[in-house]
């Protein structure tokens, strides 16, 4: 680390990466919390979002903004289909079978993406509006990364507001603590399941689109992201937007600095952090209990 400029630049990179992780993880955490299904195809949905955005911008020549709207919606529709055909019909099988089902789905989507988009590394260019850089306090930063940080913040505040101030948020919070009970209270819980799963898919797809110009597209992308999202989930703890947000920022910054300073063991640092958190605070930083005593 030669000077303060690189530190700040890496910090901004880490912050924007953390925001991306937040967008992806909050969808995963919502679905896990309410449906009780750990969606192992969540990373694949993220990948689909990025690839669909690639098709829209590069193959069909539309602008990035069209992709930003269409791609997450496409993924949401895909999530809707998955929920209605596979998950909805298998609630009687139990959660473990459903998790394995999403794992099988990850296989299918992995091969489909390879079939449609090939195994090469692809990339989407940053939209021209944000392609420049800004100078703050005499230092230049890529504008797009700052925008991503802004988007993450807006989304975090929006989700926090929805979860804490609206009727839907109340249902979701209740669902997180006891989904059977709110079914008994007259809420159509199956409908809530569907909406939450589709919302999770939408967030995954949205994350895929905004991440694509930074991280690029390659065949193994879905599990690399899924693993980091799982780590964020464990560190942050279930059931709180704040916890997921804090954990995502920590993991994002740590991963970026790790990659910069000690690339060979960058993943080890993240996992060491997770291990420490699991032993020191079994509930996650801010959340419900995940370990037994």
């Amino acid at each position: 680390m030669d000077n303060i400029e690189t530190i700040i630049a890496q910090f901004i990179n880490g912050l924007s990466y953390g925001m991306l992780l937040f967008v992806i993880t909050c969808g995963l955490a919502l679905v896990f919390g309410i449906l009780g299904v750990l969606n192992l195809a969540h990373g694949s949905l993220y990948m689909m979002g990025a690839y669909v955005a690639y098709s829209i911008t590069v193959s069909f020549g539309f602008s990035f903004w069209v992709a930003l709207i269409i791609a997450p919606l496409t993924v949401a529709v895909l999530a809707l289909i998955i929920e209605r055909t596979l998950l909805h019909t298998t609630y009687k099988l139990g959660h473990l079978s459903q998790v394995l089902l999403t794992f099988g789905l990850a296989y299918i989507l992995h091969d489909l993406a390879k079939l449609v988009w090939g195994a090469n590394v692809l990339s989407i260019s940053v939209p021209s509006l944000f392609s420049g850089s800004v100078s703050i306090l005499g230092q230049t930063f890529p504008l797009y990364r700052l925008i991503v940080i802004g988007v993450g913040l807006v989304l975090a505040i929006g989700l926090w507001w929805i979860q804490n101030k609206t009727r839907w948020g109340a249902i979701i919070r209740a669902g997180l603590s006891d989904s059977e009970m709110i079914g008994a209270l007259g809420v159509n819980i199956r409908f809530v399941f569907t909406v939450v799963f589709v919302l999770g898919g939408f967030l995954a797809g949205f994350g895929g689109v905004i991440a694509a110009p930074i991280l690029g597209l390659y065949p193994d992308m879905e599990f690399q992201t899924l693993i980091l999202a799982l780590v964020v989930l464990v560190i942050g703890g279930l059931g709180s937007i704040t916890g997921t947000f804090t954990a995502a920022i920590i993991v994002g910054v740590l991963e970026t600095f790790g990659r910069y300073l000690v690339p060979e063991i960058s993943m080890f640092i993240i996992f060491a952090l997770m291990a420490v958190i699991l032993i020191w605070r079994p509930h996650g930083l801010l959340g419900k209990q995940v370990t037994e005593g």
């Binding site: 750990l38 019909t89 473990l96 794992f103 993943m267 699991l278």
Partner: protein, 325 residues
Amino acid sequence: MTYLKFGIAVLLFGAAPFFLASFHISLLTEILILAIFALSLNILVGYTGLVSLGHAAFFGAGAYAAGLIGQHVSAEIITTLLGGVLVSFMLALVVGIFCMKVNGFYFLMLTLAFSQMIYSFIYQSTTWTGGSNGLTGIPTPSLLGLELSNIVWVFYVTAILFLLLYAGISIFVKSPFGRVLVGIKENETRLKSMGYNTKIYRYVAFVISGTLGGLSGVLFTYFNGFIAPTNVYWTMSGTVLIMVLIGGAGTMIGPVLGAALIVILETVIATYTDMWMLLLGVIFIFFVIFLPEGIYGVWQRSTRKWLKGKIPQPELKKVDREKVS
């Protein structure tokens, strides 16, 4: 009866190279190696009720350790086998400490995360493991100075270890220790209340499972002569889990059948298309939804039904109510 079956298996494996072409021997060797891998995972998934999605970490640790020892120390099977098994044993000891702290989905997440960590280490550490190119130039294994250059020798080594492990695991799961593991799967809270320290039992099961997984990795190095990072990837962990589940988790023969089915299917399919993962995903989902008890479970159920029709069932003894009271 068990001894008879075992004897027949020994004879069949012993005679196989005299009847089968080398292509089929190589196929059979691959099946047996992956069957050992599946059997080791079955101790966790089928008998202890812990679904691991990171078993490839141990397979890869064993395989890479054996390959590296073969390159830098000695290609002697005894050395590489012990070395590979020791490395995966140590890995299981460490990973187990963390994974045993959690249950259910969190266990699944942690095992997946740990295996991806091992994968990314292998993938990034190009100086040791060859990175994305894989580990090449592994010398042919030798046993007491005799080079095992022929696939038949590798087959015999594999078959002997397979039979020993199959017998060993069968005895293990029927032992009091194995019964406690099944108890953990069925109702852990109850076992705890009976005074068992279930954490220790789960930890030992995890370590045994990981160590044997490493052993299958070592054998794979002998068989393949080359290790790619994909052998440590999540798809590998998934494939072995599919083998256990479609064969029949919690049975001894199930994982072996599952391994055989998947290996044969992959060999057949590979000649037509490279969309193997797509098909595997479809098979996986099909079994999860429609045949959760696996091939062997279905077979057991249908034969029981068939026997019920053929053999007169023993009538229940009528209890004289007055005598009882």
